[in-house]
Structures are given as structure tokens and as C-alpha cells.
């Protein structure tokens, strides 16, 4: 049976089906890059305490700017079910994915629940720019 009302479906991220997690990038398989620095955007684009997503050298990254001034960067999709990590809530210790509330430690990327870890990327501010090393 065809479903004409679904024909307009266009997932947010390419390569995924309607209603499935937004990415098929599984945890731990984010390839280690060559270690190239990328300017992804301006620091003042990221509100205090929040995260924003960018593409750095073809890799989706989520960059967080904490209220203590520190920056963190990680893969944009949660390894558990592809949740948009940039939409998560965070503090100095952990990042919490918005879909299933799994928490990941900023110190090493490990999940507090023992699930697969997230990959962390070096990030720094330079002249108001956010620089991520992928």
C-alpha cells in the first residue's frame, strides 16, 4: 500500500529513513582524523551553557560552551541511537543526550551507564573563532 502523504518525507540527515535515528554513525567508529584544525564558527554564536553543531572537515561535531568559559567538542550524533547531542544539556562533568538521557563524561567520553563512549575532539578559541581539531 502506498502512502502518498509520506512522499514528502525528507530526513534531516541524508542517508537515513523516515522515523529512524538521524544518523547511522555508530559509537566508537568515528574515524580518527588526520588532526587538522578547522575554524567552524564564531564563539559568540554559541550561547552560554549550550551546544551548537558544525561540520568540521566533513565530520559532524557538536561544540559546547560552558558557563565557566570552557569549550568541549564531540561527535554530533549520540552513539546510542543517533540523538542530536548539540541539543543536549551539559555541565562541567557530563553531556546528557536529549533522546534517552544517557550521560557522557567530558573527561574521557565514557558513558556513565556503561554504554558506548562518545569521541571527543580538541577545541579552542582563537580571536573569537571556534577551532576544532578533527
Amino acid at each position: 500500500m502506498s502512502a502518498p502523504h509520506l512522499e514528502a518525507a525528507r530526513p534531516t540527515t541524508s542517508g537515513t529513513e523516515l522515523g529512524t535515528p538521524a544518523t547511522d554513525v555508530p559509537g566508537g567508529t568515528v574515524a580518527a582524523g588526520p588532526g587538522v584544525e578547522h575554524v567552524v564558527g564564531r564563539l559568540d554564536e554559541i550561547p552560554m551553557g549550550e551546544g551548537r553543531a558544525y561540520v568540521a572537515g566533513g565530520v559532524q561535531v557538536a561544540v559546547f560552551r560552558l558557563r565557566d568559559g570552557s569549550l568541549h567538542a564531540t561527535q554530533a550524533a549520540c552513539p546510542h541511537a543517533g540523538g542530536p547531542l548539540a541539543d543536549g544539556q551539559t555541565d562541567v562533568d557530563v553531556l546528557v543526550c536529549p533522546l534517552h538521557l544517557l550521560a557522557y563524561r567530558w573527561s574521557d567520553g565514557a558513558a556513565t551507564s556503561g554504554a558506548a563512549p562518545i569521541r571527543l575532539f580538541p577545541v579552542r578559541e582563537q580571536d573569537g573563532d571556534v577551532v576544532v581539531t578533527v
Partner: protein, 863 residues
């Protein structure tokens, strides 16, 4: 034999011997003819002589216990049995009489078993007296047996109350009159069922009821006569007895209570009984099950101390140091037990003492708990049946129509008695609580019924390890136990590790129980359990007071002032935002990072990172113009799915974050708040305008309620409904607040209902006389809930926790109500439509930027 088709089972031995009455009697658990046990010459015997008088449930079990302890090396054992049979399970005579079990199935120890274990069984030999000075047993076959240790396990006999004509001149019972104690009596009754039509059973205790049920099952018309005012009076209270009577009568058995039979009629065989009140009951079969009496005549004749039974000390010893008594014939600390469990405990202790396995073993009494099926009705009884002291707690649930009567007696927070009739599902937990003094739930009613959540029906101890506890995250009992074994020391840690209870949360209490069970007391008290949010070590009242006192208006200000070392906590932010909004209303200082993504973008995040958009549709009422606009918007933004929600609204699913502001603008409708821990919808039915049955204008009242309380944040989501009559078409009975028109301008207000993972009918808070009063009362209840509920605690947990009475008391206090009115008004005044606000002017840079930006992927050729 009376049992039709009774096949001989050779394995169990079907020896025919010449019985006392000249009849051919089959020996139960008998030995084929010609086989004899080999006896060692007494002169060569170096072992002690252990003689057991009585081959019933207690005596035979005692022998087993002795053998299990290697006692055959120490003792040469002789067992006297009055009956010619091996040892059989007397408890199972009822199923045999009912034709449900074959008599061979109830054999516990056959004659072969005794022979194989070197035990001399003197079956069919009655002991007449004991010469305790000479240490000899005199039996009715003229033999004299010396002993070193003697154990009396003579049990009980059926008590036949004095009635004219019940016995013949020679002292035997009138033909057609039977006790119900032995296999021979059972066989005789079974045989009689073939030719008898009417039976009277005397005695409304366990045995009487089982006999009545069994005989009725054989097609006899059965009347039951009980001398006491209610059935099973030894175990049940009057109310439970009355309910049991109804159940028994519904089987077709006539019950006569509180009346004695004075005379048994009939010259050659029974023809009827005469009751004290003059009534005559005709019958051709009379079963006397009016209780049992301990068999003490041997002890009496032997000069041992006998009161109600043979008096023994904590080592089951009589006043003669080499004579012991166990089972129903023993009286220990004033108690005489009529159940098998204490008899078996006696057997164990005495075997420990005599074999020297534990020479100091003591029996200190039994806490008797029994579970049985009597006349088709499940009964479980333990401890006392009624309160005995002024401060005993007594909880009774009585449902006569269903034949269910449940009660518990609690003393000093310990279970001291329970009676379950008609429903014994909770017996496992209660038995544990009774035997081990396990802690009891604070809500005592949970001892007897499972409130709304059926998962707790099985005690956690009995749950198989692979049974799923948390259905949201697929966590099994084994996973939880594994986390505990792996070092998690608190419920919170286990939940973090396994994610059990982190979905809908409905399994949290079960998770807690399993963790407690798995840790077996080795559990750290979780101090965070009482905190409102995990990152601030304060309960809600203290936290609220501190926020007010220190004038903390933003989430970051609360962390700085109240968190340990001023440290932020991601998992506390959402709860704090909600609390601050409630406290400060329009004076709250919003911080987007304190909000969950849903609140940041005013839409509900979906599994693929897209969002759902639900416009407000008050009371579920819409217009063609509104529908047309929604249709246009859905097409314009290529919305993958348009869905009617359970809350009587329209959901546009699969919307990209970056499209949200433009869609809101095109819709021109306010947010329906389908994403927040806040007031959601008010469902309504068509009420009095169109419905033929409507008693009140539920539609308008629903719209008014939604207008007043729209967008108000709470500790968890709040769902309401208003229905125009009790037919409940909009499901008001299962809402956080549900309003039901009942006619004459009156409205019922229910609170604490649920129809999610938990299903609960709301509690009737009040019945009021106008829609305005409904609105006022709803506002007060919602505000009381907002101020006092824990974070994420729905009203269906909150109302039972604080108690409906407590809520009513608050709502009856004018001073408190004035505060509640002011509090809710502050929030009502602070309402703004978030779509209208952020749609035009984003609150933060990149508020609606995609969180999973498109990555240019290498092109793959399409086939």
C-alpha cells in the same frame, strides 16, 4: 475397594491381607507376600534401641530425619503403627475422597522403604502401655519390646461428640457414621458414596468442609452442621467465616450454623440426625469431623504427664528423660498443633538431639502459616486473626460478593497475623513478612492488594532472573542483580548503571525492591532520594525557602548559591527551571541552557532529531478555517505525518528544527504545549450542546479551563478532561484533574487519575455547584501540586503519597487557599505564547539551527 477402576500399582505394593473384620483389605504401601526383612539377632546388636510409637506424618518423618543424619549406624529402629499400612500423607485424604487422587499416590513410605532402610515396621500393632521403669513397650499382640529411647508420635483421633444413638452397644459407630481421619475411613466413605444419596457432615472446620465438598462432588446432597456461629472459627473471624459460608453455599451445600446435633437416628444404619432446635435432617451417610483430640491414652496409662496432650520441653522430652513426644500428641509451651509443619519441625529437632547432630537443638514453637484450598476456596491463615491489643493495626478488605476477605494484624510495625480468603496472591510476601519480620510497606493496603501496578504480584525473590523489570530500557531482574553484585551500592547507582527506571518511571518501586533484595540489607542509604533535584542537597520545601530568601531568580544563580562548591549539574537544570518559573512567574530570569531542548524550541523532539508541532486546540474544538490552515502548512513544509493525538489535537510530525519559526508564523496559532512538563490539554466531550445525554456544558468548561491554565509549568505534565456525564467519553476519570457533570448543575472534580504506564482512577476531591467553582478548585489543586510534588512526580503518585484527606484539608483552609489562589494567578499572569514570542525573535543565537547538519557525502551511483 470403593474407588472404581482402582488399578493395582505393583511398584507401590498391593498386598492383600486378611483384615481384622474378615474382609479382604488392601495394605497401602504394602509388601508383596513372601518377602520378609532380614533381622539381625538381637544378641549381636550393639546399637541403641530406638522405638517410635506412631507411623503417621510425625513418626515416619522423624525416622526419615534420623536416617538422614546417619542414625541407622547408631540405632536399631522399630516403628509401631496402629494402621496396617505404610506411611501415607494424611493431608491428601481429602483429594482421595473427592476422587481427585488415587490412594497409591499418597503413599509416602511403603513397607519396602522400611525394610530397605533396616527399620522394623510393626504395622497393625497397637501399643497398649509403656513400662518406663523397665523401658519396655507392651503391644496388643502380646509382645514386649525393650527400648533405650522412645518417641511417642501417636497423633490424634476424630472426636465424636456425645450424641444419642451414635454408637452401638459394643461401642462401635453406627453403620453409616464415619470419622474422617484414616485411609480406611476414607475408603469406607468412598464405597458408601455409591449407594448413599444424602449426607450430613458434622463440623464446619477444614476437614468437615473438605468432606462436604468431596461428597457433594460424588453427587450426594450434602448438609453441613456446625456447632459454632461461623465456619472455620478456629482460623477465621466472623466476617471471613460468613463470606466462606456464601462461597460454600454457592456450591450447593446447605450450611446450618450455631446448632448442635443431639441424636443420631436409625437402628441398623444411620437414617438422620436430630438437631437441638428440633429439626431433623435425613441422611444415609453421616461424617463426623467435629475436631480431633490428641491420642494420649498410651501416655496416660504409662503415667506420663498429660494435660491437653503429652507435655514436653524444648527438646520434645516428656517428664521421663528417655521418652519423647512429637506431632499432634505433644503439648509444647501450652500449645498443641494440628498442622503438619510444626510436627515436621519437631521431627527435625528431635532427630538432631537424639543422633547428636546438635545435642543442644531446641524447639521453641512454630509460627503457623497455612495455605490451603478448602471446598474450592483458597485460604491462607497465619498468626492471629483479629487485633488483640489497643494499638494493634487491623486492616480488612471485605468483598462478600466476590467471596474475598483479606485481613492483616500489625503490631509494632511487624506482621503478627493475616487471613486471606478467596484471594491468596499476596501469600508469599505475607508469609515472608510473618516468618522473618520483614519490613512492611508504609501504605498498609499494599500488603493485601497490588495498587494499580500488576508487576508486583510476584514477590521479587520469586521472580525469574530473566524477567523484564524495566520495559522501557529492557532491563531484567538479572541485570539489576548484576549491577548490585558489580558494586552499585544504592538504588540511584543501579539506575544509572542499568538505566532501569529511567524510562517512563513506572517500574521504579519494583527496581528499588529488587535492589534492596539483591543487596540483602547491604545498601547505602541514598541521601539524594529526598532531594528535589540531584545536584542540590535540599528537599523541595527547603529549596523553595532558600530560593525565596536569597532571591535566586535564575538556574545559574541557584547553582552558585546552593550547590556543593557552586557546581552546575546538567540533570538538575530542568527541574530548577520549572521550580523557579513557578516561584517567580514573570520575574523569573530565563536561561536557555537551563531548559530541556523541547522547552528551548517549544516542540517535542522525535527519535530522528526532528520535532512535532501541536497547535493549541482548546477543548479539542476546531474550525474548518483552522483545519484548512493546518492542511496548508503541512503541505508547505512537507510534513511527513499528520496525526490526531490522544489529547484531541492535531500533531504535525517530522518537522525540521529550522522550519519551526516559519511554521508557527504561517499557522498563526498558539503553542499547544505538547512538549513540556506543564499543563497540556483539556479533553472534552460534546457535552450538552449536541449530546442527548449531556448533563452539563463540558465543552465550554474545558475550553475555559484550558484558557486559564494554558502553558502553566508543573513538576510533571498535567492533563485534564471535562465530561458532560458519567459515561466519561473524554476519560475524565483517568486524568490529573477530571471534571464530570452529574446533573442539577453539579460537577464532580477527580484528581490523581492516570491512564499511562500506570492506570489509576482519580480520587473524588469534591462535588461543586458551578463551573466557576470547578475552575477555582482546579487552580487550587494544581497550585498545591506544583508547590509540593517532587520533580517528575505525577499527580497519580502525589495524591496517594500525601493522601486525599491532606489535600482536602488544605482546600478547606481559607488562608491556605488564598495563598494558592495568589500563586496560580501569578503563573496565569505570566503566560505568554512561546511561539508568538520566539518565532519572530529568537531567544538565543542559533536557537533553531539544525543539531545534525548535513554533511556532503560522496555520491554513490544509483542502480
Amino acid at each position: 475397594m470403593g474407588r472404581p477402576g482402582g488399578a493395582e500399582v505393583q511398584g507401590l505394593g498391593g498386598a492383600e491381607v486378611q483384615g481384622r473384620g474378615g474382609m479382604d483389605l488392601r495394605v497401602l504401601g504394602g509388601r508383596p507376600g513372601g518377602v520378609t526383612a532380614l533381622h539381625v539377632d538381637d544378641g549381636l546388636e550393639t546399637r541403641g534401641r530406638l522405638v517410635v510409637v506412631g507411623n503417621g506424618m510425625a513418626g515416619a518423618r522423624f525416622v526419615e530425619e534420623v536416617l538422614e543424619r546417619g542414625g541407622d549406624e547408631q540405632f536399631c529402629i522399630t516403628v509401631f503403627g496402629d494402621e496396617p499400612h505404610g506411611n501415607y500423607n494424611r493431608i491428601m485424604l481429602s483429594p482421595v475422597l473427592a476422587g481427585e487422587s488415587h490412594e497409591d499416590e499418597i503413599v509416602l513410605n511403603s513397607h519396602d522403604w522400611y525394610a530397605d532402610n533396616g527399620v522394623t515396621l510393626r504395622a497393625g500393632v497397637r501399643v497398649e502401655r509403656i513400662d518406663t521403669a523397665a523401658k519396655q513397650v507392651h503391644a496388643d499382640d502380646g509382645t514386649v519390646t525393650p527400648y533405650d529411647h522412645l518417641v511417642l508420635a501417636t497423633g490424634s483421633y476424630s472426636f465424636v461428640p456425645p450424641m444419642t444413638g451414635v454408637r452401638r452397644d459394643d461401642g462401635s459407630l453406627l453403620p453409616g457414621v464415619y470419622g474422617f481421619r484414616t485411609i480406611d475411613e476414607t475408603r469406607a466413605m468412598l464405597e458408601a458414596t455409591g449407594r448413599c444419596r444424602r449426607a450430613v457432615v458434622m463440623g464446619g472446620g477444614l476437614l468437615g468442609l473438605e468432606a462436604a465438598r468431596a461428597l457433594q462432588g460424588h453427587g450426594l446432597q450434602v448438609e453441613l452442621v456446625h456447632a459454632m456461629p461461623w465456619l472455620m472459627n478456629a482460623q477465621l473471624d466472623a466476617e471471613a467465616g460468613a463470606i466462606l459460608k456464601r462461597s460454600v453455599e454457592s456450591l450447593g451445600i446447605t450450611v446450618h450454623l450455631d446448632v448442635l446435633a443431639t441424636e443420631v437416628l436409625g437402628a441398623d444404619s444411620v437414617e438422620g440426625v436430630l438437631l437441638k432446635d428440633g429439626r431433623r435432617l435425613d441422611c444415609d451417610l453421616l461424617v463426623v469431623a467435629a475436631g480431633v483430640r490428641p491420642h494420649t491414652d498410651v501416655a496416660v496409662r504409662s503415667g506420663l504427664e498429660v494435660e491437653r496432650a503429652i507435655v514436653v520441653d524444648d527438646q520434645l522430652r516428656t517428664e521421663d528423660p528417655d521418652v519423647y513426644a512429637i506431632g499432634e500428641c505433644a503439648q509444647h509451651r501450652g500449645e498443641v498443633y494440628g498442622l503438619v509443619a510444626p510436627a515436621w519441625e519437631h521431627a527435625k529437632v528431635l532427630a538432631d538431639v537424639l543422633t547428636g547432630t546438635d545435642p543442644d537443638a531446641e524447639y521453641t514453637g512454630s509460627r503457623t502459616a497455612t495455605k490451603l484450598k478448602v471446598a474450592g476456596v483458597d485460604v491462607a491463615v497465619m498468626g492471629v486473626s483479629t487485633p488483640e491489643r489497643d494499638d494493634d493495626e487491623f486492616l480488612v478488605i471485605s468483598e462478600p460478593k466476590r467471596g474475598v476477605h483479606l485481613s492483616v494484624v500489625i503490631r509494632d510495625d511487624k506482621l503478627v497475623g493475616a487471613t486471606l480468603l478467596g484471594d491468596t496472591r499476596k501469600v508469599a510476601f505475607l508469609t515472608q513478612a510473618f516468618d522473618r519480620g520483614a519490613p512492611l510497606p508504609e501504605e498498609r493496603i499494599r500488603l493485601l492488594v497490588d495498587l494499580s501496578d500488576g508487576v508486583e504480584e510476584v514477590g521479587v525473590a520469586e521472580m525469574p532472573a530473566d524477567s523484564q523489570v524495566c520495559n522501557c530500557n529492557g532491563v531484567s531482574k538479572g541485570d539489576i542483580c548484576g549491577a548490585v553484585a558489580g558494586g552499585c551500592g544504592s538504588v540511584g547507582e543501579v539506575m544509572d548503571r542499568t538505566r532501569a527506571g529511567k524510562g517512563c518511571g513506572s517500574c521504579k518501586s519494583l527496581v528499588k525492591q529488587i535492589v534492596e533484595w539483591a543487596a540483602d540489607g547491604d545498601l547505602a542509604e541514598d541521601p539524594a532520594a529526598s532531594w528535589y533535584v540531584p545536584g542540590i542537597p535540599l528537599a523541595k520545601p527547603e529549596l523553595t525557602a532558600a530560593i525565596r530568601e536569597q532571591d535566586l531568580r535564575s538556574v545559574s544563580a541557584v547553582f552558585a548559591a546552593l550547590a556543593p562548591a557552586g557546581k552546575e549539574d546538567a540533570k538538575s537544570k530542568m527541574g530548577l527551571t520549572s521550580l523557579l518559573k513557578m516561584i517567580w512567574g514573570a520575574d523569573f530570569i530565563p536561561q536557555k541552557d537551563g531548559e530541556f531542548i523541547n522547552d528551548r524550541v517549544h516542540a517535542n523532539i522525535q527519535r530522528d532529531g526532528t520535532f512535532s508541532v501541536v497547535p493549541q486546540m482548546k477543548g479539542g474544538v476546531t474550525t474548518p478555517a483552522q483545519l484548512r490552515r493546518i492542511a496548508d502548512v503541512a503541505e508547505k513544509y512537507e510534513v511527513p505525518m499528520v496525526k490526531v493525538t490522544g489529547g484531541q489535537r492535531i500533531d504535525l510530525l517530522g518537522v525540521r528544527k529550522e522550519d519551526l519559526p516559519a511554521m508557527w508564523s504561517d499557522l498563526g496559532m498558539p503553542s499547544g504545549y505538547a512538549y513540556g512538563k506543564s499543563m497540556r490539554t483539556v479533553k472534552t466531550c460534546v457535552g450538552s450542546d449536541f449530546c442527548r445525554f449531556g448533563l452539563g456544558d463540558s465543552t465550554q468548561l474545558g475550553i475555559d479551563l484550558e484558557t486559564r491554565f494554558q502553558g502553566i509549568e508543573g513538576p510533571a505534565k498535567i492533563k485534564m478532561a471535562v465530561v458532560g456525564c458519567p459515561r466519561n467519553c473524554a476519560e475524565a476519570y483517568v486524568k490529573d484533574v477530571g471534571v464530570v457533570a452529574i446533573g442539577n448543575g453539579k460537577w464532580e472534580v477527580y484528581v490523581g487519575g492516570a491512564a499511562g504506564a500506570t492506570v489509576r482512577k482519580g480520587d473524588l476531591l469534591a462535588t461543586v455547584g458551578s463551573p466557576e467553582e470547578v475552575t477555582t478548585l482546579t487552580g487550587r489543586f494544581v497550585q498545591y501540586y506544583r508547590e509540593n510534588a517532587n520533580w517528575l512526580e505525577r499527580t497519580y503518585d502525589f495524591v496517594p503519597r500525601v493522601g486525599l484527606e491532606a489535600v482536602r484539608e488544605v482546600l478547606a483552609d481559607d488562608g491556605l487557599c488564598a495563598d494558592l489562589d495568589a500563586g496560580i494567578q501569578r503563573s496565569v499572569d505570566a503566560y505568554t505564547d512561546p511561539w508568538g514570542q520566539d518565532g519572530a525573535d529568537p531567544a538565543t543565537p542559533g536557537q533553531f539551527r539544525p543539531a545534525l547538519p548535513l554533511v556532503a557525502l560522496p555520491k554513490v551511483p544509483v542502480r
